[in-house]
């Protein structure tokens, strides 16, 4: 696959439109139903908390500057566990992509063209998405750049023309909602708004030209998107009232229907619908692109393009079966999606981040570590050695075997029960000698003599057996580590 590079400005725009995404359509009613007129407070808190989410993604991106999210999974967790997590992640993107096609179909069918089957909209939409994916990320970024000013203009026009209808009684009394309902609203808002930004890790470290300014762009895009959403939610409540907002499926569309300038300029909601069609296009593209590229990468294919048509067919099919009706979709989006998304887009990056930080510290030859940390490392090193050897660093094999021998020395010192086998202990001593040697030669020297002397230790069965014994313990250690972090 050839490398595609987008500019940091394009990246900001993609972040902006992606974070708006479907949230513009479904979030107002969802959070107004739980926290009533205080929904705007919940949304504002959600935007602030999203800063932490973005911080997490950026930190993970910095740890793996040349890889995208899928490759990082496989590199950090090893081939086997990496594949499992990637499949979990891709299930999320695939189903969510199908869901978005369902949303665009449901939206058009209920509000605009009631007699057209949803399949028609899904089909038309996926054709554009497939074409965009076929042309690649750069073309997509340019098209986002063209759509962005239109989006902003329409949004400003929308806000200005709806302002005369604001009734401040709708938002009073302020702060009446209970803490629990606010909490639920925040969770729902974040799960739709910022959890999907994890897909930008497919672009962020590897395919942007200036990483520093795209880092800023990530924050700016997210904050601007949050601003748009908070404005829309506030306007929905101010104009429609909390009860009306909650009972509608697509309150922002109902809001656009209220626009009436001098009883002359009316019924312009379909122009306003341009906004959410654009933002849903961006988000669906990202889901689709992530799925296609992800499948191509875990299967180690050279090109992802042949997979576009079959995946498009699957996604159209999915859009017809994901939700039998809108109630199913509401329940799913309110109750299950936040947890599902949290596991795949927050817990998984946190896990990757912990592994990446420990690995990086390791490869710098930092010795100030606890035995627990060592054990955990060793576990990963084992996985890496046994399963992958995919690492692109020239010195990986060398450093990994060094890690093993280091951990062995530690084991020999602290865990006496592992030394019942004298043979094992002997090999540990050998390792100790080697460790000293390799440490003095660090970092990153690919000395053949050195690596040769380490290689036999790696293949020694007694040694690896003792490693295996420590693995149950390392699970404990892992949880400890997580707590510390």
């Amino acid at each position: 696959m050839e490398k595609e590079i987008i500019s940091s400005r394009q990246f900001t725009i993609i972040t902006f439109l992606l974070s708006i995404g479907t949230a513009i359509l479904i979030v107002p009613s969802s959070i107004a139903s739980s926290s009533k007129q205080d929904a705007w407070i919940a949304a504002s808190i959600g935007v602030v908390l999203s800063l932490l989410v973005v911080k997490l993604f950026l930190t993970l991106g910095d740890q793996t500057p040349t890889l995208n999210f899928i490759e990082a999974n496989e590199k950090l967790l090893g081939r086997f566990f990496g594949k499992i997590t990637v499949v979990g992640f891709l299930s999320l993107t695939l189903f969510a992509g199908g869901e978005l096609l369902y949303f665009i179909g449901a939206f058009m069918k209920t509000e605009v063209m009631p007699e057209t089957p949803t399949l028609a909209f899904a089909l038309l939409f996926i054709i554009i998405i497939m074409y965009a994916t076929y042309l690649g990320l750069e073309n997509f970024a340019r098209s986002a750049e063209i759509l962005f000013p239109m989006f902003v203009l329409i949004f400003i026009f929308f806000v200005v023309s709806i302002t005369p209808q604001i009734k401040f009684e709708n938002i009073q009394p302020i702060m009446e909602a209970s803490k629990t309902s606010i909490l639920y609203s925040i969770i729902r808002f974040i799960s739709v708004f910022s959890f999907s930004l994890v897909m930008l890790l497919m672009i962020y470290p590897a395919s942007v030209n200036v990483q520093q300014s795209s880092k800023k762009g990530f924050y700016i895009g997210m904050l601007l998107g949050g601003f748009v959403l908070v404005t829309l939610i506030t306007l929905s409540i101010l104009v429609l009232g909390p009860a009306n907002t909650a009972s509608r499926t697509f309150p922002s569309y109902a809001l656009a229907q209220r626009i009436s300038i001098g009883n002359f300029l009316q019924r312009i909601e379909i122009i306003m619908a341009f906004m959410w069609i654009v933002s849903i296009f961006i988000r669906t593209f990202m889901y689709f692109y992530t799925t296609v590229v992800g499948i191509a990468q875990i299967m180690k294919l050279k090109d992802h393009r042949p997979l576009i048509l079959p995946m498009g067919i699957i996604m159209v099919g999915l859009s017809q079966i994901v939700h039998p009706d809108i109630v199913h979709s509401n329940i799913y989006n309110d109750e299950i999606w936040p947890i599902y998304a949290f596991v795949c887009t927050i817990l998984l990056p946190i896990l990757l981040l912990i592994v990446a930080v420990i690995r990086n510290r390791k490869s710098q030859g930092n010795e100030a570590k606890t035995v627990n940390g060592e054990n955990k490392q060793e576990n990963e090193a084992n996985i890496g050695n046994a399963d992958t050897n995919q690492q692109k660093q020239a010195d990986t094999g060398n450093s990994d075997s060094n890690h093993q021998s280091q951990t062995n020395t530690n084991n020999a010192d602290s865990n006496h029960q592992s030394q019942t086998n004298t043979n094992n202990a002997d090999s540990n001593h050998q390792n100790q000698a080697n460790t000293g040697n390799s440490d003095s030669n660090q970092p990153n020297q690919t000395k053949t003599g050195n690596s040769d002397s380490n290689q036999p230790n790696q293949t020694k069965t007694g040694n690896t057996d003792s490693n295996q014994e420590h693995q149950p313990k390392s699970d404990n250690a892992k949880t400890n580590q997580e707590n510390q972090e």
């Binding site: 639920y184 499948i295 299967m299 294919l301 099919g317 799913y332 299950i336 947890i339 599902y340």
Partner: protein, 77 residues
């Protein structure tokens, strides 16, 4: 019925367009993944066209995460 046959024909056309090209490039693995995905997609869409009741994959996800949801709800009560 007509729709299902149309979907089948479209899928066959897609396969005929892509597979010889990939064969020329000697990408056996791509052909395999491509065929599997195309097969799933065709079967799915034909099932929809024939109005067979296919369960939503999200029901499975719901089944997995419902205990966690119940736990969280019980915490906040």
């Amino acid at each position: 019925m007509v729709l299902a046959i149309a979907i089948l024909i479209i899928s066959i056309i897609i396969a005929l367009l892509y597979i010889p090209k990939l064969k020329k490039q000697q990408e056996t693995k791509t052909i395999l993944v491509f065929s599997i995905l195309l097969l799933i997609g065709t079967a799915l869409n034909m099932g929809i066209a024939l109005k067979i009741n296919i369960p939503s994959p999200l029901d499975f996800i719901t089944f997995i995460f419902t205990p966690i949801k119940d736990f969280i709800v019980s915490l906040t009560k």
